[in-house]
C-alpha cells in the first residue's frame, strides 16, 4: 500500500518509536522501534501482556508521553515536537480518552461530565448529536446524577459519551473494561463497537482481554516492546490461540 494511496492521510502514523526509561545499566526499553498506522473508521486493539509496552505505546500515540526517538503524526501533524499549548489544542480537536478508572469528575453531573471537553474548548454542543449520543449510550434518564450515584458500567458509559462528544479524530481507550465485571464489559464493548460502526469513530484500544480484542477490526500483538503480529478481525478463540503460540501469556 505504501506509496500508492498518497492522498489518504492516516489518522495516526507512528514510525520507529523507541522509549527508554532510566539510563545506563538500569535502562528499561519499553518500546524498541515500533511503527503503527491507524486507518480511519476502524477499531484497533493493541494486545499484549503486562510489561509488553502496550500502555507506553498508547501514551505516546496519544501525546501523553514523548518517545525517546521516532515520530508520531496525528491527522498529519507531528506531535512529538509540539509544545504544551499546541498539544493542548490538538487534544481538543483530535483526541478523545476512555480510562480504565473512568476518571469522571465527582462534583459534576453526568451531563456536565459528558460536555466537559466542549466546555473546556469553549464550544457549544450540537443538541441533536448530544441527544443522539446520550440515547446511544443509554444515559437519558441518568444525566442529572453524579458519578457516585452511578454503577461502574454507567460511569464508563458517561466516559465513552465524553470521549465521543467532541467527535475527535481518534479515541484512545486504556483497558476500558479492566475495572468492570464480565457482563458489563460486554455491554461496554458493544457500545464501543457501535460507535465505530455508526459514527465512524476511529478508536484505538489497549487491552489484555481477548474478548475485547475480538471486537476489533484489527489486532496488534505487542511483546517486549515490539509488534510481533498483526491480524484482522478475529474471534476470541483465534486470538487466544495466537497468544498461546506467541507465548505471550
Amino acid at each position: 500500500m505504501e506509496g500508492t494511496v498518497t492522498q489518504v492521510v492516516e489518522v495516526v502514523d507512528a514510525k520507529d518509536l523507541v522509549r527508554v526509561y532510566g539510563e545506563g545499566d538500569t535502562a528499561v526499553h519499553a518500546l524498541r522501534g515500533v511503527g503503527v498506522r491507524i486507518e480511519p473508521g476502524q477499531l484497533t486493539a493493541v494486545m499484549g501482556p503486562s510489561g509488553s509496552g502496550k500502555s507506553t505505546l498508547m501514551h505516546i500515540l496519544a501525546g501523553l508521553d514523548r518517545p525517546t526517538s521516532g515520530s508520531v503524526k496525528i491527522d498529519g501533524i507531528e506531535i512529538t515536537t509540539l509544545g504544551d499549548d499546541a498539544l493542548t489544542k490538538l487534544r481538543r480537536q483530535h483526541i478523545g480518552f476512555i480510562f480504565q478508572f473512568f476518571n469522571l469528575l465527582p462534583m459534576l453531573t453526568a451531563r456536565d461530565n459528558i460536555l466537559l471537553p466542549l466546555t473546556i474548548a469553549g464550544t457549544k454542543p450540537d443538541p441533536e448529536f448530544f441527544d443522539n449520543l446520550v440515547d446511544r449510550v443509554g444515559l437519558a434518564d441518568r444525566l442529572e446524577h453524579r458519578p457516585s450515584e452511578l454503577s461502574g458500567g454507567q460511569q464508563q458509559r458517561v466516559a465513552i459519551a465524553r470521549a465521543l462528544v467532541s467527535r475527535p479524530t481518534v479515541v484512545f481507550a486504556d483497558e476500558p473494561t479492566g475495572n468492570l465485571d464480565s457482563r458489563t464489559s460486554g455491554e461496554i464493548l458493544k457500545l464501543m463497537r457501535s460507535s465505530v460502526d455508526e459514527y465512524g469513530q476511529t478508536t484505538v484500544m489497549v487491552t489484555h482481554d481477548a474478548k475485547a480484542a475480538a471486537m476489533a477490526d484489527r489486532v496488534l500483538y505487542l511483546a517486549d516492546g515490539e509488534i510481533v503480529k498483526e491480524t484482522g478481525r478475529s474471534n476470541q478463540h483465534e486470538i487466544l490461540q495466537i497468544i498461546d503460540t506467541l507465548d505471550l501469556q
Binding site: 501523553l64 499549548d85 493542548t88 480510562f99 465527582p106 466537559l116 466546555t119
Partner: protein, 885 residues
C-alpha cells in the same frame, strides 16, 4: 470552567471552610477594629460637637510651645477680666466663662472613684447661660457655692443621691460638698467611664487653683452680625497667650487627643489582624497544596480533555477568589460581633466607651473584602502554579503524586536567601542611622515577613531531625498531660459513658507503643507538609517569644534603673500609679512626723534648640534621695540649680554640644525664655531615664508654669520601711484619696506591672494567630486522613484499634506542633537578641519559665488539633476504606 470551579468548591465544603478559617479570623479582627474605632470616633465627635452646639467661637489659653497632647502641659488659664471685655463687644450676643480640671470624687469608703483608669473631669457650670452648658440636669438642681453635681453613673454605682455629701478633691486637700443634683453629658450617661463633677464658677476656680482666671470663654454671635465680624472684633481685644477658634475648630482641637489615641489603637489592632492574616495565608497555601496534590488525577484528566495550563491555573485561582470572598464576608460580620463584644468587655471592666450605635463604614467593607480576597489569592498562587505542572499522563497512573517542581532543588538555597534577606532588612532597620520611624518599622516588618517565609520554606530540611528529637518528647509530654487531667476529666468521662451503657475502654495513661511509633513515622514522611503545617504555629510562637523576651529584657533594666536612681524608702504615687499629683500632696507628706526628707520631681515640656522636649524639675532635697550617674558635675550641683542652672542628659548634651558651663535659652510653656547654664551632665540608666532632657530647679519651674504637677515624690522616714511608717504615711494621705504611699519594692512592682499588663494584651492578641495555626494543623490532619483512607483501613484490618488510630494521629499532631514551637521559639529569641543589641533599654534575658509554658501550650495545641481528625479517622469502616476507589 467557572461552574466547574464552583462545583468543586461545593463538593469540598468542609475542606474549603477549614482552609478559609484563618482569613475569616484575620478579616474579623480588621473589620472589628474599624467598626470599634469608627463607632468610638463618631460618638466622640457627636459629644464634642454637642459641646459647642450653641457656640460660634471659643477663646482658650495658648501654650507658647507646641506641647504634645500628653496632658502634662495643659493650656494656661487667662485673666477672667477678658470675659467682661468680650461681653462688651457689640458683635457678641452672649459669652460665658468656664474653668475645668481634674476633680476626684471620693466614695463612701474614702477612696477616690475611678472607673478603669478613666479621667475624673471637673468643670464649672453656669445655669444662667444654658445654651453653653453641655450637661443635662437629670434630677435635683444646679450647684450653688460649695455644692456639686455628679454624673448619674457614679451616683448609681457608688450609692449617692441628691442631698448626700460627697468628698471632692482637686488641686488642694479633699473637702466635703453637698450633691445638689445629678447630670448627664448630653444624652450619654458616661464618656469612657469618666466621672463628672460640676461646680459653680467661683467654687470651680477655687478648687482648681484658678481664682480670677478662666480656661475658656464661649461666645454666641449677636443676631444680625456675621460670625466673621464677631471673630474679627474678638481678635482685636485678645491678650497674648490666648486664641479664638470657631466652634468647629475647637471641637476638632478637643477631639485631637482622642483621635490620636484612637488612630494608635486602630493601627495597633490592625497590625495583629495582619499577623493573623499572614498566618492564615500559610494555612491556606498549605491546605491548597495538599488538596491539589490529592486532586492530581483530576487535573490530569482535565488536561487530557484539552484543558490548557492557563485554564487549570484560573480554576484554582478562581476557587481561591471565591473562598477568599466568602471568608471575607464571614469575617466582616464576625468583626461586627467582635466590636460589640469589645464594647461589652470594656463596659464590664468599667471603661464605658461612648457608643451611639455601631458605625459600619463603606471603607470597612471595602478594606475587609479586598484584604480577604487578595490574601487568599496570593496564598493560592504557588499551589495553583503547581497544579498547572501536573502532566496529562498522571490521569492514567494509579496513585499518581505530584512530582516535585523543577525549581525544587533550588528551594533550600532560595529559602536561605529569603531568610538572609529578611535578617539583612532587620539589621539595616535596626542599625542604620537616621531612619524615620516609618522607614524603620517598614524595614523591620518586611524583614521579619521575609524571614518567616524563608524559614518556613527551609524548615522542611529540619523536619526529619527535629521530628526524631520531638518524638519522645511528644510521647512523654502527652503522658504527663494525660496523667494530670486523668483523675479530673478522663475517669469521670469514662464513668459517665459507662453509666449510659456505652462500652468504652478504661482510659489509660501510658503511651501506646506501636500506634505512637507509626504516628511518629507519619510526621517524617512528607517533610514539606509537616514543615508548612508547623510554619503557621512557628510564626505565632516566634512573636509570642519575642514579646516575652523583650518584656523580660525591659523589666530588668527598668528595675535596675529604679534601684540605681532612687534611694528613698517610700514613693508617693496616684492610685493608678502614673497620674501626676498636685504639689500639696508632697507638702502634706512633709508635715508627717518621722519624715526626714521629701523630694519631688516636677514634669513638663519646654522648647529648646527649636524642638519641644520633656523637662523635669528638682528641689534642694533632691541630692539626698536621688542618685545620678554623673559625666560632669556632682550630686551637690543637683541641689544648687538656682534660677538658671540646668542638668542635661548625656545624649542631649552630645547632640547640642553642651558641656559644663555652656549656656542655652529654653522657652517654657507660658512663653518665658530662660537663659540656662549647664551645671551637670548625667548618663541616664539603661532602663530608661525618668528625667527629661533638661532638669531645672523647682523654683524656676513653678515660676514659669501655670499649674505645676509632681511626677514623683520620694520620702525617707526615720526607721526606714516599717509597717508603722507605712500606716502613718497613708493616714496623712487620707485627705488626698488619689495618692498612696508605696515602699520602694512596691513602687518597682507597680511600675513593672504596667509593662506586664501591656504584655498580657499582646499575648491575647497573638493568641488569635496561634488559634489560626491550630486550625491549620486540624486542616492538614483532616486532609491527611482523607488521603490515607486506604492505609488506615489496612491498619484497622490488621488489628489497630480505634483508640490506637487516635493515638497515632495525636502523636503526629503533637510532633508537628513541637517542631513549630522549637523553630518559632528559636526565631523569636533571635529577633529579640537583635532588638536587645540595638536598644539600650532592653537587655537580652531568656524568659525560661515563659518559654516552657509556650512549649507546653504548643503540645496542648497539638493535642486539641488532633481531636477531631482522629475521631474521623477512628470512625472509618476498615472494609469501606479498603474498597475505596
Amino acid at each position: 470552567m467557572i461552574k466547574f470551579a464552583l462545583q468543586g468548591l461545593l463538593a469540598r465544603k468542609l475542606r474549603t471552610a477549614l482552609t478559609a478559617i484563618g482569613v475569616v479570623l484575620g478579616v474579623a479582627l480588621i473589620s472589628g477594629t474599624y467598626v470599634l474605632t469608627d463607632s468610638i470616633t463618631s460618638a466622640f465627635d457627636s459629644i464634642f460637637t454637642q459641646n459647642y452646639k450653641n457656640t460660634d467661637a471659643a477663646i482658650t489659653g495658648k501654650n507658647a510651645i507646641d506641647a504634645s497632647e500628653d496632658g502634662t502641659v495643659p493650656a494656661p488659664p487667662f485673666d477672667a477680666g477678658l470675659l467682661a471685655k468680650v461681653r462688651g463687644l457689640p458683635q457678641v450676643g452672649a459669652a460665658g466663662g468656664a474653668v475645668s480640671g481634674e476633680a476626684q470624687l471620693i466614695g463612701k469608703d474614702g477612696k477616690s472613684i475611678v472607673f478603669g483608669g478613666a479621667p475624673n473631669l471637673g468643670f464649672s457650670v453656669d445655669p444662667t447661660l444654658p445654651q453653653f452648658n453641655s450637661l443635662t440636669l437629670v434630677s435635683g438642681a444646679w450647684p450653688a457655692g460649695d455644692q456639686v453635681v455628679i454624673d448619674t453613673k457614679t451616683a448609681k454605682e457608688k450609692g449617692f443621691t441628691t442631698g448626700d455629701t460627697i468628698g471632692v478633691q482637686a488641686r488642694g486637700a479633699a473637702e466635703k460638698m453637698k450633691i445638689s443634683g445629678l447630670v448627664e453629658f448630653g444624652a450619654v450617661s458616661s464618656i469612657g467611664g469618666a466621672t463628672l463633677a460640676g461646680f459653680d464658677l467661683g467654687t470651680a476656680q477655687r478648687l482648681f487653683d484658678k481664682t480670677g482666671k478662666l480656661d475658656q470663654i464661649l461666645i454666641a454671635t449677636k443676631s444680625g452680625t456675621s460670625e466673621q465680624q464677631m471673630l474679627d472684633a474678638v481678635r482685636q481685644i485678645l491678650p497674648t497667650a490666648t486664641q479664638v477658634r470657631t466652634a468647629d475648630e475647637q471641637a476638632k482641637e478637643d477631639a485631637a487627643g482622642t483621635s490620636s489615641f484612637l488612630s494608635f489603637l486602630q493601627t495597633f489592632l490592625l497590625v495583629f489582624g495582619g499577623i493573623a492574616l499572614f498566618v492564615g495565608s500559610f494555612v491556606i497555601a498549605n491546605s491548597l497544596s495538599i488538596t491539589i496534590a490529592q486532586r492530581t488525577r483530576e487535573f490530569a484528566t482535565l488536561r487530557t480533555l484539552g484543558a490548557s495550563r492557563r485554564q487549570i491555573l484560573s480554576t484554582v485561582v478562581l476557587e481561591a477568589l471565591v473562598t477568599g470572598f466568602v471568608a471575607a464576608v464571614a469575617g466582616l460580620f464576625l468583626g461586627l460581633a467582635i466590636a460589640t463584644g469589645l464594647f461589652k468587655l470594656f463596659d464590664a471592666v468599667g471603661f464605658t466607651l461612648p457608643n451611639n450605635g455601631l458605625v459600619f463604614r463603606t471603607r470597612t467593607i471595602v478594606v475587609a473584602l479586598i484584604v480577604g480576597v487578595v490574601v487568599t489569592v496570593l496564598a493560592s498562587l504557588r499551589p495553583a502554579w503547581r497544579a498547572t505542572r501536573v502532566p496529562p499522563i498522571a490521569a492514567v497512573r494509579e496513585g499518581a503524586t505530584l512530582a516535585p517542581g523543577r525549581l525544587n532543588r533550588y528551594r533550600p538555597v532560595g529559602a536561605a536567601l529569603l531568610a538572609a534577606g529578611g535578617i539583612a532588612l532587620v539589621l539595616v532597620g535596626l542599625f542604620a542611622d537616621g531612619l524615620s520611624t516609618k522607614t524603620l518599622l517598614t524595614l523591620l516588618g518586611a524583614g521579619v515577613l521575609l524571614l518567616f517565609i524563608g524559614i518556613a520554606l527551609f524548615s522542611s530540611r529540619l523536619v526529619r531531625p527535629l521530628a526524631t528529637v520531638a518524638d519522645p518528647i511528644a510521647r512523654w509530654s502527652v503522658v504527663v498531660l494525660t496523667a494530670l487531667i486523668w483523675p479530673f476529666v478522663l475517669v469521670p468521662l469514662w464513668l459517665v459513658r459507662r453509666l449510659f451503657g456505652r462500652r468504652t475502654e478504661f482510659p489509660g495513661v501510658l503511651p501506646d507503643g506501636p500506634a505512637v511509633a507509626i504516628g511518629g513515622q507519619n510526621s517524617r514522611r512528607d517533610p514539606h507538609r509537616t514543615a508548612s503545617t508547623a510554619a503557621a504555629l512557628m510564626i505565632g510562637l516566634a512573636l509570642v517569644t519575642l514579646v516575652a523576651t523583650l518584656g523580660a529584657g525591659l523589666i530588668r533594666p527598668f528595675e535596675q534603673a529604679v534601684d540605681g536612681i532612687f534611694s528613698a524608702d517610700y514613693a508617693i504615687t496616684a492610685q493608678n500609679n502614673f497620674s501626676p499629683l498636685p504639689p500639696p500632696v508632697a507638702a502634706e507628706v512633709a508635715k508627717v512626723p518621722g519624715v526626714q526628707k521629701v523630694t519631688s520631681v516636677r514634669g513638663g515640656q519646654a522648647k529648646a534648640f527649636g524642638k519641644t522636649i520633656t523637662i523635669t524639675a528638682v528641689d534642694p532635697q533632691a541630692p539626698e534621695l536621688l542618685t545620678f550617674d554623673w559625666r560632669s558635675g556632682s550630686q551637690a550641683s543637683l541641689g544648687e540649680l538656682g534660677t538658671d542652672g540646668a542638668i542635661v542628659d548625656a545624649s542631649y548634651a552630645d547632640t547640642h554640644a553642651l558641656v559644663l558651663g555652656s549656656r542655652f535659652p529654653m522657652q517654657t510653656a507660658t512663653g518665658k525664655t530662660l537663659q540656662l547654664q549647664v551645671k551637670g551632665v548625667f548618663r541616664p540608666p539603661a532602663g530608661g531615664s525618668p528625667f527629661g532632657n533638661v532638669t531645672i530647679s523647682t523654683a524656676t519651674f513653678d515660676a514659669t508654669t501655670s499649674q505645676p504637677l509632681n511626677i514623683y515624690t520620694f520620702v525617707n522616714m526615720s526607721g526606714g520601711v516599717t509597717a508603722a511608717n507605712t500606716a502613718t504615711l497613708n493616714d496623712a494621705l487620707s485627705t488626698f484619696p488619689n495618692a498612696k504611699a508605696l515602699t520602694r519594692d512596691e513602687f518597682k512592682k507597680a511600675q513593672t506591672d504596667s509593662i506586664k499588663s501591656i504584655l498580657n494584651v499582646l499575648y491575647v492578641l497573638l493568641a488569635l494567630s496561634v488559634l489560626v495555626s491550630l486550625f491549620g494543623i486540624v486542616n492538614t490532619l483532616v486532609l491527611t486522613v482523607f488521603e490515607r483512607t486506604r492505609e488506615l483501613g489496612m491498619l484497622r484490618a490488621i488489628g489497630l484499634t480505634r483508640g490506637q488510630v487516635k493515638k497515632m494521629i495525636r502523636q503526629e499532631s503533637v510532633i508537628t506542633a513541637l517542631i513549630g514551637a522549637v523553630i518559632g521559639i528559636a526565631l523569636g529569641l533571635l529577633l529579640a537578641s537583635l532588638l536587645a543589641a540595638r536598644l539600650d533599654e532592653i537587655s537580652f534575658t531568656i524568659p525560661v519559665a515563659q518559654l516552657v509554658i509556650f512549649a507546653v501550650v504548643s503540645v496542648v495545641v497539638g493535642i486539641f488539633a488532633a481531636i477531631w481528625p482522629a475521631r474521623r479517622a477512628a470512625k472509618l469502616d476498615p472494609l469501606e476504606a479498603l474498597q475505596y476507589e
